[in-house]
Symmetry: C2
Subunit: 185 residues, 2 copies
């Protein structure tokens, strides 16, 4: 996806273990430190955040907080903090997944976090300023992960990578705002 | 609502400040202590949990955790812990609200928590044992709260209390499972 956007834009990548900048989205100070380094930008795309997959009977209260701190509040904090580093008419694109609408076994925590982000995005666009748009891309099981995860997703169809990339393109380059961009088939 | 169900059932009420038992759903030990007192039961209905309402610009990270700890994890913990105190074919009914689907200003935190519960309920019924059913009732602005909150909900229609009660009746006495029972009009 970086390759796609790099055709016409300057890209800064960030992750816990690689990329141009280091960031751990579970830590809001780390998010602030990242944006101090990027300075003002036009678009933020987040494809990060973890949640624990396990049988419901085995998930402890603390296990649920892994997803709440990382994939949920990590993305909320990215909006809270990142909006002040976005130029007018900038955009923020978050990521969830099909589990929000169509969960499978072992995903009570992951599904919950995804559903939370869907409602958050619809709410935050009522208030965010400077004509900043916020969307969330919710993909099915993408082709590149299909072999690894297909046993968890019986009968789910793999999403071709070009369709996955297009969902993000639609968010960043379209005029969509407050949308849950679902790509499930 | 207690009055309705009391016609044909033995009712035990619990809340922070009144009811037969004291419980603070934000504290999982308090939930466990409550169920130790109830013993085995047939149905759990939760209409509890708070989240902070404020402008998005003013909500701190800690403010978001008020809702995550109380209305979200409080209800998740009620399912985690409560399921072991439910008889076979028992039911659990959680509560959210229209903000999950149709938020208003100041509700980024409240909307997020409601959306999380919607996805959680759909996921947990894939795994919960002993034929226990789990549903969530999502109401619009109920008549009894209309005067107090109507300025936050421009153009929203008040939900008559009998329709609100019926949503819970449908969850407890129907065969619905994993459903988001929406009553918005």
């Amino acid at each position: 996806m970086s390759a796609h956007f790099a055709q016409n834009n300057e890209i800064i990548t960030a992750s816990r273990t690689g990329g141009d900048l280091a960031v751990d989205i579970a830590d809001s100070r780390s998010i602030s430190a990242m944006f101090e380094k990027t300075g003002m930008i036009d678009a933020i795309i987040c494809i990060a955040g973890e949640a624990k997959w396990a049988d419901f009977n085995e998930l402890s209260e603390d296990d649920f907080y892994i997803g709440l701190k990382s994939k949920l509040m990590g993305q909320v904090n990215l909006v809270r903090i990142g909006r002040t580093y976005l130029n007018t008419k900038g955009s923020i694109t978050l990521s969830t997944g099909i589990l929000a609408d169509d969960p499978v076994v072992k995903t009570t925590s992951a599904a919950m976090v995804n559903g939370a982000i869907h409602s958050f995005v619809q709410a935050v666009v009522l208030e965010i300023e400077n004509d900043i748009r916020v969307n969330v891309v919710s993909l099915g099981l993408v082709e590149d992960s299909y072999e690894r995860y297909k046993d968890y997703f019986p009968g789910f169809n793999p999403i071709p990578m070009n369709k996955a990339v297009n969902a993000y393109v639609r968010s960043v380059q379209g005029k969509n705002n407050g949308e849950i961009i679902r790509m499930y088939h």
